[in-house]
Amino acid sequence: MDANAAKLIGAGIACIGMGGAGIGVGLIFGNFLSGALRNPAAAGAQFTNALIGAALAEGLGIFSLVVALLLLFVS
């Protein structure tokens, strides 16, 4: 298998990592919503923490995208 084909396949496999990030972000906001529906008064104060947690979880998906882009576009 020549190097270019291997790089393209590797880029495709790297994108599987973003599925985990999607699950992680969904977990955070799902838990936030279920907690907010139980205790709406306390929900506003924790929304900032929910955003921080979601950005941290999404960051790892972005890292896998960066690996895929590195494989595709960096010679």
């Binding site: 900032t48 921080i52 950005a55 960066v66």
Partner: protein
């Protein structure tokens, strides 16, 4: 004009490269847009603080919301002795926010889509955390890596893991902002390319091009949200890391 998604990230030297101490320095489009960012931030805040009304109008209200968002963030995360760091966090937040937002205009260059820019900001933040921690606690700052209540047998392993996770902070901080901006703009250009390719196929293609066009509009809205969110996350993680430096857990 080349129409692939990567061409938008090219750095063009505008004022020719000079040889300074063996390095090639030029005034590039990236430098120009950094100047535009500074002009926008300073100009907007000057304009917003001009009315000085007790009941703020719309412009002053936006300036006040911008200030109070960061002011409350610094106070909530860092407490009272974090107040000296407010100008730094405000500058970082404003720079990243306006850099991300300016990149949403067509044909403008997104300064934070260059990994060298975001990595520089991230390395600066973590270096500042180390310097502030050492200045405030002396060599006792290294107790940050030795959590209390850990059995003595596995303490070396835990400390090594803590050091590695600390060293991953500048990488993650810089890559998060870079990756979000890079990916967002690439996806936007890819869908724009779909619209152009479909329209070139005649009248049926024009009807079909409405789908990627609607997707591009939705993605642009998402990109505005991501631009603000990533600036906010950069600022709040700066506050959290500074908190580690100021209030090392004993």
């Amino acid at each position: 004009m080349v129409n692939d998604p990567i061409h938008q990230f090219r750095i063009h030297p505008w004022l020719g490269p000079w040889n300074v101490f063996g390095h090639e320095i030029a005034f590039t489009n990236s430098n120009f847009y950094m100047g535009v960012i500074v002009a926008v931030v300073v100009g907007f805040l000057l304009l917003a603080s001009r009315p000085k009304a007790l009941v703020p109008g719309r412009l002053q209200s936006v300036g006040e919301m911008w200030y109070s968002l960061i002011r409350n963030m610094v106070e909530n995360v860092l407490g009272h002795d974090g107040a000296p760091f407010f100008p730094l966090v405000f500058s970082l937040f404003s720079f990243v926010l306006v850099a991300n937002m300016l990149g949403m205009f067509p044909y403008f260059f997104t300064v934070t889509s260059q990994v060298v820019v975001t990595a520089s900001l991230a390395v600066f933040v973590v270096a500042l955390v180390v310097v502030v921690g050492l200045y405030k606690h002396g060599l006792g700052w290294f107790k940050l890596f030795v959590p209390s209540g850990v059995p003595l047998a596995i303490l070396p392993v835990i400390s090594l893991i803590e050091v590695i996770s600390f060293l991953s902070r500048p990488i993650s901080l810089g890559l998060r902002l870079f990756g979000n901006m890079l990916a967002g703009h690439i996806v936007l250009k890819v869908f724009a390319g779909f619209v152009v390719s479909l329209v070139a196929l005649g009248i049926g293609g024009v009807i079909g091009a409405l789908a990627p066009l609607a997707m591009a509009v939705a993605l642009t809205a998402l990109e505005f949200l991501v631009a603000f969110l990533q600036a906010f996350v950069f600022a709040i993680l700066t506050c959290v890391y500074l908190n580690d430096a100021l209030h090392t857990h004993h």
